[in-house]
Symmetry: C2
Subunit: 238 residues, 2 copies
């Protein structure tokens, strides 16, 4: 298991009293505990769908076949649908969509730029891995929002993302190009690091002690497991 | 009025017997008379929506504001929805979608490349003018298909295209940039010529006499009028 957030090496562990933070760290920690407020949540979740869409639209423009364009078009349509539904939630929560999304665009655009990769295959696996990862992340984080919002948002976010059709095209590409798998495996690992950093920036810590920082890694355990399953599905080592 | 298809100048009109073609030429000629077979029609109509989508997705990626991305996203979603519905019609008509679209991709991709323009505004007005033009064109052409297909296809093609939201952003840009209008007017006229050539390639002529060629221009009269209305709506001279 890769350690996504490095700890200082050689830190000396002194015996001390158990604080509330230590207790939390030894329990199963949920992402929901670090949920931001509703508008901050919606601004990020809505913009991330646009980012996924922009990556998919580039994948469509560069697709090698018409069949691939049509198939991947479905995934692009789904991400635009989620984006629009989340924008409607911003309005319903009393926010102005563009104002609510704007604080996050720079970081996501930067991620999108990096995540394009150097060719069609890398862009494809980004589309496949990132749609799943961010949907998972925001669904879990949404549990920390007021109940009436949470249920609606979970329905929007956990809707279909076109993952299976992307997997199908990736699998065909890997089968046809013997050396593609190691390159895509490497790309997937690198991308995971970048996605974790983007995701982490959404979390709100109750206080800024080192022990709350240390709680961050466990909350990603299930997301990492899901990422590993997506890689495994293509026969790639996560 | 610009003559889109030039006639040889100085042609001498000799008195002759009225042929069937001459009669048609003096009547109101409908595009429906030149409809190709159903699969050829669907292949073109489905791919043109992908082309419109690719242009829109580039417009979204380069949009100056988050609000514009969201608003134009709706238009992109609509074009993908039409594409998917038309692909389903290909399957229903017994065709293989990619095979049916493939003969037309090169010409449409070439149009898309030209129609991108040199900046965001030209790409925007292409999106605005071409979605309307091609929907109009295929709706009219569909009248020449068997009745049971025609009704369904007209419903798909005449569905919303996001034209009003594109017009809104274009109007704001024109209002803010005094010299933009003449550049966009010029671009709109050039684009119309390119769209007419793409549209014309779909038509099937019953025979290759000069008189059927001469019929082509009148069938575009209503499309040209609609294009002029779209230009007028932005205060641009068509």
């Amino acid at each position: 298991m890769v350690k996504w957030f490095s700890h200082k090496p050689g830190r000396i562990e002194l015996p001390r009293l158990r604080s509330r933070s230590d207790i939390l760290a030894t329990e199963k920690v949920a992402l929901a505990e670090f949920a931001p407020d509703i508008l901050d949540f919606l601004g990020r979740a809505a913009y991330v769908q646009l980012m996924i869409f922009e990556n998919l639209s580039r994948v469509i423009a560069n697709a090698p076949t018409t069949a691939a364009k049509t198939a991947i078009g479905k995934a692009a349509e789904l991400s635009l649908g989620k984006h629009r539904a989340l924008v409607a939630e911003i309005t319903q929560a009393g926010g102005s969509p563009a104002e609510v999304m704007d604080p996050f665009t720079e970081a996501f655009d930067e991620f999108e730029r990096i995540a394009r990769g150097s060719d069609w295959y890398e862009a494809m696996i980004t589309a496949y891995l990132s749609a799943g990862f961010f949907d998972d992340f925001y669904v879990r984080l949404a549990k920390g929002l007021p109940t009436e919002s949470h249920t609606r948002l979970a329905t929007i976010l956990s809707g279909e993302s076109g993952e299976s059709v992307l997997a199908e095209y990736l699998q065909a590409a890997i089968d046809a190009n013997p050396r593609l798998d190691s390159r895509l495996a490497m790309w997937g690992r690198r991308l995971m690091g970048d996605m974790m950093l983007v995701a982490r920036s959404a979390l709100v810590f109750p206080d800024h002690t080192r022990s709350t920082e240390a709680q961050v890694e466990p909350v990603f355990t299930e997301l990492i497991a899901a990422h590993t399953r997506r890689m495994d599905a293509l026969g790639l080592t996560a």
